[in-house]
């Protein structure tokens, strides 16, 4: 890669996502990195923190919007078409940030912070979008082959490094740690409007064993689980949303955690590939505590109805940001809506009491897009009134 190309791209991107423009509208809160153990101080974002959204603290955040995409990093025309559709929706309806649910850079992630993959699969496709992207690692981000076996977790570190790199092409990319919490907006008593919890699911479920012991369950999976549980328990945010790559429930080919990749698993080497421990991780950290769980991995759009084991949370699979696929069993989990074989994304609008979800479908060849489904719900988790002192 030549410096010329980089300089050229930087020039090119200044129009769309200049640093100053981002600072005005970017993430409205501090991030808390979770890669280290809970006792360690969180990684400090070297960039100056952006000012909070509201002015004067008189009035808090009234609403927020975000878009959830996943499995987008192909660098192909489909990804560009989805990006253009996102741009139009953002322009028309607003959007504070984007959730990127993993598989950010196909097929096998990046191997350095200067890797072209960041350009080809992220900066360039999203050059016209002016919002921060909160990213989560997928199996392809941690893979050493195009198969996405997930046995090279160390590769994910470059995607964290990119967050801190001063040579990146825009400041959109947000991944302060491999797993982390991010707060958005402010309500009364400094409570965040929304807390986002991002899980690194690949080391917990990879198809093939990663022999790097830093990423086994003892050194990584369980500490992450404890960290996440504590982060959620301590969160005072009004809305709580979790994001992970591997689904908790899905009607696509990867299926439900606990029985992931049922037909494929025979060729996998990792005994955790069925996601049994991952399922318990999600339940122990999030059940009855979060309002929404966003995942990717299956290349379709699904709004799965709440299930008892996860409590009232709505379960969104948004993995059609760059690839599309068909369902394996559309009846596996009851849904409000599901769409296969088409690209697309989910736009979410939150007020204090309600959430509105819109599913947009994008034609991979023509770029035409349409609203596939729209539905409004009351906030799933109702706040429990704090007990009054006796």
């Amino acid at each position: 890669m030549s410096n010329d190309r980089r300089a050229f791209l930087r020039q090119l991107l200044i129009g769309g996502a200049s640093v100053s423009a981002l600072a005005a509208c970017g993430g409205q809160g501090g991030s808390e990195g979770g890669e280290d153990l809970p006792d360690d101080p969180p990684k400090v974002n070297p960039e100056p923190d952006e000012p909070p959204v509201e002015s004067g603290g008189v009035k808090g955040t009234e609403s927020m919007s975000f878009i959830a995409i996943g499995d987008m990093g192909t660098g192909n025309i489909g990804q560009y078409h989805v990006a253009e559709a996102m741009r139009q929706i953002i322009e028309a309806q607003g959007c504070d940030f984007v959730l990127g649910a993993g598989d950010n850079i196909y097929e096998d992630g990046v191997t350095s912070v200067d890797d072209n993959g960041f350009l080809d699969s992220f900066e360039y496709p999203y050059q016209n979008l002016d919002v921060p992207f909160y990213m989560c690692l997928g199996n392809h981000d941690c893979a050493s082959t195009i198969f996405g076996g997930g046995s090279d977790n160390q590769r994910g570190d470059y995607q964290v490094d990119y967050h801190y790199s001063d040579k990146r092409y825009s400041t959109k990319w947000r991944m302060p740690a491999r797993f982390y919490k991010e707060s958005f907006g402010k309500l009364a008593q400094e409570k965040p409007f929304l807390d986002l919890f991002v899980v690194d699911s690949n080391p917990l479920t990879s198809f093939y064993i990663d022999f790097d012991e830093r990423f086994n369950w003892k050194n990584y999976g369980y500490p992450q689980q404890l960290w996440m549980k504590e982060a959620v328990n301590e969160s005072e945010a009004h809305w709580k949303i979790a994001m992970s790559h591997v689904p908790y429930l899905s009607n696509g080919k990867h299926g439900n955690a606990g029985n992931l990749d049922e037909g494929m698993r025979v060729i996998f080497s990792n005994p955790d590939a069925d996601g049994q421990r991952y399922k318990l991780f999600l339940e122990e950290a999030f059940s009855h505590k979060i309002d929404m769980l966003v995942t990717g991995h299956d290349h379709s759009l699904q709004w799965i109805k709440p299930v008892e084991s996860m409590g009232p949370a709505h379960i969104i699979v948004s993995g059609a940001g760059g690839k599309s696929d068909k369902f394996q069993d559309p009846e596996r989990n009851p849904t409000h809506y599901q769409a296969e074989n088409e690209l697309g994304f989910v736009w979410v609008h939150l007020t204090e009491e309600r959430m509105l979800l819109e599913f947009y479908l994008v034609n991979e060849d023509t770029g035409e897009f349409r609203l596939g489904y729209s539905r409004e719900e009351t906030k799933p988790v109702q706040e429990v009134a704090a007990p009054t002192p006796a």
Binding site: Y222, R265, D274, Q276, R277
Partner: protein
């Protein structure tokens, strides 16, 4: 002074006699436990500050001593213990029973007095959850009712979770079939002065009728009551009552607090959550039978309900200071899916042995135990956790194959998903010093517990490397194993080579296990009885197996652990108070 202070405090906290009786009297039918509450609301109108003992009015009684089933204690906590007795007084109901707890067997230093009521709804059993002023202390207690005093019982509170404990000794017992043999094991355990508690891992009674499952010669001398298979509430009560007339069992209860869980025979053979192998439609609805069995269990066993309105939950935990946490599980009833006989279904990811609630609870307890820095994490439960195969093979989870030819799908082998969840959690936590204690199988076993014992790369049978926990299985009090020692030895000669994680087993002898725990190691000593065909006090030390702290695998010990120094005296045989009355 101390005593008065304590009594004043207790009454202020709502456990005065008056408050207690008011509270108790307000209860509705069924099992009742008088529970001292800490918030001052014992219910009813307690007279705060009443330190004297307002004796409840006793009904007229001209019969013999009503304490026919002696006394018992159980579920010790740092400041609480359940005290149990039963009143046998035909024609009377709602009989007041007073209990006193003292530091000494002479009752010169009484620290607690309480009242309970023997009612027909609870089969005239009385349970009082006594509040005691000190942790890790031996106490003596005695009931009084209808002009009689009960035998003197002895019990012990556990150490506070943050207290340092150097030495813990527990007897571990299971499977006491009244008509299969004399309860010699209970007698031997009764006289061990240095025990902190007795763990009973289930099959305290058996549901069979005469001739169905017993030694005919023993049964002729120890006839069953009721003389048929037990199905109804009255049947179950009578079977417990029968066992509790046994002098050896009475003595064991009198001397030690018990921590009990049920297994299948407290219901019927091979029970699961919604049925049992030994239950047929002619015996009515299984849910009725289950309800009856649960009620009788709570009436007769010195167990504290975890949730007063949900007695079917018996999984619960105990702390023995910093030295050990004890988690008692229900692998039998509350969450168990029906048994299978197919190795394919055994791996069904939707089947569970514990149920989701109990598994979540267990994982929280393990996390709590690790966080609080307990040295040992003991799991008291029913069925064997480690696999038992006719030839262990590597496990291939993704093919849903492997492990080897398993033979008993009533144990964890039949619930591979639940086992993987538990062992996977222990592994992920990096939890050292997990010790599993098991009953059910009428035999003695010492085993390493590995995620994949048949896989040479995962587990080394010679060094124990790859083992993440250990399991000790206690033999039966009286239920039979192999009919001869020869058969037992033959099975051992085959099974140990076939199962690399199994280090020792004995199918023949009845007996019990003493678990001896210090910060350095946790050792199980097996004591085997010469016979259960007749009353006998002959036993021998069979074998000891221990795991050193941090090792997570077992090693043999040819000598049993030394008893504790300065063990407190046993409760005296003589009932001084009663003799004084006579």
């Amino acid at each position: 002074m101390k005593r008065r202070d304590f009594l004043v405090k207790s009454s202020a906290a709502g456990v005065s006699l008056v408050a207690l009786s008011a509270c108790n009297g307000a209860g509705s039918g069924g099992e009742e436990v008088v529970t001292a509450t800490s918030d001052g609301n014992a219910g009813g109108s307690g007279l705060a500050g009443t330190s004297g003992l307002a004796k409840p009015a006793m009904p007229e009684w001209g019969g013999p001593s009503p304490f026919q089933h002696s006394v018992a204690s159980g579920d010790p906590l740092a400041r609480q213990v359940i005290l149990w007795t039963r009143i046998t007084a035909e024609g009377l109901d709602e009989v007041p029973v007073i209990v006193r707890v003292s530091r000494d067997p002479e009752f010169s230093d009484v620290v607690y007095e309480g009242v309970g009521y023997a009612r027909s709804q609870a089969d005239y059993t009385v349970k009082i959850d006594a509040m005691l002023p000190e942790a890790n202390t031996t106490w003596f207690y005695q009931f009084e009712s209808l002009g009689y005093f009960s035998a003197i019982g002895r019990t012990k509170t556990t150490a506070h979770g943050d207290q340092s404990v150097e030495h813990l000794r527990l007897a571990v017992m299971a499977c006491a079939n009244y008509s299969y043999g004399y309860f010699n094991a209970y007698r031997k355990v009764a006289f061990r002065r240095d025990l902190d508690a007795v763990l009973f891992l289930g099959d305290y009674i058996y549901e069979y009728g005469p001739g169905e499952y017993g030694d005919p010669e023993v049964e002729a001398l120890r006839p069953l009551d009721p003389p048929h298979g037990i199905v109804t509430l009255s049947d179950y009560r009578r079977r417990y009552a029968l066992n509790r007339t046994d002098q050896d069992l009475q003595e064991c209860h009198r001397q030690h607090p018990f921590i009990c869980v049920w297994d299948d025979h407290e219901f019927a053979d091979n029970t699961w959550s919604d049925g049992a192998a030994n239950h047929n439609e002619g015996e009515g609805d299984f849910s009725d039978r289950k309800r009856a069995a649960v009620q009788a269990y709570y009436e007769w066993m010195p167990i504290r309900p975890v949730l007063p309105d949900r007695q079917v939950r018996i999984y619960r935990s105990f702390e023995f200071g910093q030295l050990a946490s004890l988690m008692m599980l229900d692998t039998r009833l509350i969450g168990r899916d029906q048994q299978t006989d197919s190795p394919v279904t055994a791996r069904d990811r939707n089947r569970s042995l514990l149920g989701d609630d109990q598994q979540n609870w267990l994982f929280e307890q393990l996390e709590h135990s690790q966080t609080r820095g307990a040295q040992w994490h003991l799991l008291g439960q029913q069925v064997m956790l480690a696999p038992l195969t006719l030839g262990a093979l590597p496990d291939t989870a993704n093919l849903d194959l492997g492990g080897g030819a398993q033979v008993n799908y009533d144990q964890w082998d039949g619930y591979e998903t639940s086992r993987r969840a538990l062992l996977g959690r222990i592994e992920a936590m990096g939890l050292d010093n997990a010790v599993v204690l098991t009953g059910d199988i009428h035999s003695s076993w010492a085993m390493d517990v590995s995620l994949d014992p048949g896989n040479w790369f995962a587990y080394n049978r010679f060094t124990g490397e790859g083992s993440i926990a250990v399991e000790f299985v206690t033999p039966a009090v009286s239920s039979p194993g192999a009919p001869t020692k020869g058969i037992s030895d033959l099975a051992k000669a085959f099974l140990i080579p076939a199962n690399p994680h199994i280090k020792w087993l004995d199918f023949y002898h009845r007996g019990y296990m003493i678990l001896d725990v210090t910060p350095e190691r946790c050792q199980a000593d097996w004591f085997h009885l010469e016979t259960v065909s007749e009353p006998s006090n002959q036993e021998h030390f069979a074998m000891g197996w221990y795991t050193a702290s941090g090792d997570n695998h077992i090693q043999a010990s040819k000598v049993p652990c030394a008893p504790k120094h300065n063990a407190p005296p046993l409760a005296p045989e003589h009932n001084v108070q009663q003799e004084a009355l006579a």
